[in-house]
Symmetry: C2
Subunit: 458 residues, 2 copies
């Protein structure tokens, strides 16, 4: 939808809601696609959003369902909660079961049971089956009603089967072929089907080297498979290679976006639950714990400085220079962290090739430390005149810089690797650990060297 | 491909290359898919990678071409450069023209001309056409040979047209319909085609509300459209609405990944050209300029501290506490930056709704500042005994914290917004500007307050 068209739609909905004409606002929305409705709802204030959505769910359950499929998970759940349990159940029934499962999992426990009771048996059973798989696996994100063809069909029988297929099955460009016991044995695409002679059996036309994932494959791996082989969808099989569902590329796209956001947020100390839309109060609640952890580590670094107060008292210029070494170590560590965490996410770094990465980051830290150390030393000399004392302080800052940048390289590589090895999110706590290393390391090496050489500095 | 199968493939290629049996190594590779060959090449050392790829390009140009399509751009270009110009031209000819254009654009200028001369006229013309569009637009990333059907065809004629279509045209699930002057007028999918009566004209079956992008649409916007409407591909039209190409979802997936990496890197001061594979020397070259910019701002912050050296000399404990206020401001700013930059990337924040976001971040900064300030003040009191002096220093740290966190909220929102408004990358330089604000702001407010109240502190 062109942005102009969207603005017009949004403006008329806003105007109609101001004059209380909810029914007419809904008529305007009905002209848009579900994704557009989602965007309009998103742009309304809380009051209007709730009012419009409630009215929509009551009058056009299908559109209401399709629209919340296009929103962020948090926003969908917020809107669903404004409805009565019966109404939620009706909306959920209209959704593909993977989406319905996603929402049910996010709703309060006590509501979940009654919703599953209120839904039609078929829909409810599908949702419960999906929920039996762990969060973040292919089983949880797949659509269970995948369209499959038996291998003993002929091409023309297959074409009639497609024509008869219900609108509800998920069919992309690929057609999966199964044997009599539903084992996944082949794949062909619609175009190959059109090109083959009508009486040939599928067995002869299909490709047998099918790329599939298992119900317990992690969603990151599913995304990697789809991206690597440029697929439009990937079949999901159980431990016996029986076809149980399909993950389509649009779900993969969402996973990739979501994980990128998570990585950026985790590296910056932001919860993945937050977004620009979160209320100030919610943002404070989500960010505060992380800041308090950082406050604790800041006091840890401060207590290192405290150890050297006698030295600072004697050569007070050290106070203004010490944050440089600590801060630059932090900057270098942030660079290393970004490369390592992204490499882990894209599957380019693993525990197995970590020695090479570690050696590289050691060398990079050393080289960057030498250049930055020399420049910093030179600036100190220039600012405090070329006295022996200035030269010595310059030398101290240079050495401390080299030391701290090497610490940055090693910590920035090792900490996310170890977290990953421990099955924790490598992005999540890395920043706080790593910057604590570079803060403590920076103050310690700079002030330590200065204390050791104090008699030449006075 | 299962990771076990991949490891076996990699190991045998390595072993065969060690014994100089390049031809046999190639035979092993031929059993894999292009994406697997790309992964094996990726895992080899530089020497083997170049040797295997050169041999592959000479013996199986098609597979060589398909494999480099699956690598990172930097790696593909590195491998292409190991070939002679004639060989590069042959590989490029085998590629879809969007990929060929991508590589040609990255090759040295002097090579480019001769490559376009060496390629077959048809391929070369297509590449040159793509290169006439600006980098990062739909025109540059599209495949120009899109399959289209004329609106006056009947369904059965359309099916024969599909059967006759060359293997080279890009066809996904969608079939685009054009009028006699090639204007895009409709769309239908293969399944709708199979369901329609054979003698109906396409005009009656097709949907007319086609989502399309223009050749000058930015790739981020293309990605948003495809993701929002869950498309498998989107048609590209010129300014007269004539169909000129298609962007498929696999290209969009690459864009989304690439942009996420760019955002993470930009926020951390890493060039988008870097990856885990970059050599140490290259990494140093890419990271050093950014570190030197940070070094300059670190000296700026140091000169603020320098102004207050007299105060520090009198109350030396301030030296150990001052990095806390500056650092915590940096942490809060990083949180705000991550949310704002991601919001901008996902299209949730724009200049138009920025006032609301700014107000929110002001409130969040205020609240987080008050809590962190109180906690920090309390810790100071606990550590230095509940004397009047300790209480005063606690009060100073609390006030400075509030002030600096508000600065963090405002700078972390405004700076990326302004950069975006100026058409610069909002992630790129934000971090250095914002942390300079919080460093200077932190030292200034903490040491400034202490200097103002110095007579009560001694």
């Amino acid at each position: 939808m062109q942005s102009q068209k969207f603005t017009l739609m949004l403006e008329s909905v806003r105007r109609l809601m101001r004059s209380g004409a909810t029914a007419r606002a809904l008529n305007v929305l009905r002209k848009g696609r579900p994704a557009d409705v989602a965007q309009v709802l998103h742009a309304l204030n809380d009051l209007d959003r709730h009012a419009v959505f409630t009215a929509l769910a009551r009058s056009d359950t299908k559109l209401a369902a399709a629209s919340i499929s296009e929103m962020s998970l948090a926003e969908s759940v917020e809107l669903l909660k404004t409805l009565a349990a019966e109404e939620i159940a009706q909306v959920l029934q209209e959704l593909p079961s993977d989406d319905a499962a996603l929402f049910v999992a996010e709703l309060p426990e006590e509501l979940r049971e009654s919703l599953l009771d209120l839904m039609k048996v078929e829909a409810s059973t599908e949702v419960q089956e999906l929920l039996s798989f762990a969060e973040g696996t292919a089983g949880r994100m797949m659509t269970p009603n995948v369209f499959a063809l038996r291998e003993d069909l002929t091409v023309s029988e297959a074409i009639s089967a497609i024509q008869r297929a219900s609108r509800d099955v998920e069919m992309v460009y690929y057609l999966y072929v199964v044997d009599e016991r539903n084992h996944l044995v082949g794949v062909l695409n619609l175009r190959q089907l059109l090109l083959a002679p009508p009486t040939t059996s599928l067995k002869k036309v299909m490709g047998t080297d099918v790329i599939s994932v298992r119900t317990d494959t992690e969603q990151e791996e599913v995304a990697r498979v789809v991206a690597r082989y440029n697929l439009l969808g990937v079949p999901v099989v159980d431990e016996e290679n029986k076809l149980v569902g399909i993950v389509t590329v649009d779900d993969v796209l969402d996973v990739i976006r979501e994980e990128a956001t998570e990585d950026i947020y985790a590296l910056s100390g932001v919860s993945s639950e937050e977004s620009v839309q979160s209320s100030p109060l919610r943002s404070v609640r989500l960010r505060l714990p992380w800041l308090l952890v950082n406050l604790a580590t800041a006091f840890l670094a401060a207590s290192v400085v405290h150890l050297f107060e006698e030295t600072i008292e004697k050569v007070v210029v050290l106070a203004s220079l010490m944050p440089i070494v600590a801060g630059m170590g932090g900057n270098a560590a942030t660079q290393t962290l970004a490369v390592t965490v992204r490499g882990l996410a894209l599957g380019e770094v693993a525990w197995e090739n970590s020695r090479r990465v570690l050696l590289k980051e050691f060398l990079v830290g050393l080289a960057n430390g030498i250049v930055n150390g020399l420049v910093a030393g030179l600036i100190v000399c220039l600012r405090f005149g070329f006295s022996a004392k200035a030269a010595l302080i310059g030398g101290i800052i240079a050495l401390a810089m080299v030391n701290n940048m090497v610490i940055a390289g090693i910590a920035g590589t090792l900490i996310p690797l170890v977290l990953k090895k421990l099955k924790a999110d490598p992005a999540l706590a890395s920043t706080v650990f790593v910057t604590t290393c570079t803060d403590v390391g920076g103050f310690m090496s700079f002030l330590g060297l200065a204390t050791w050489l104090i008699k030449f500095l006075k």
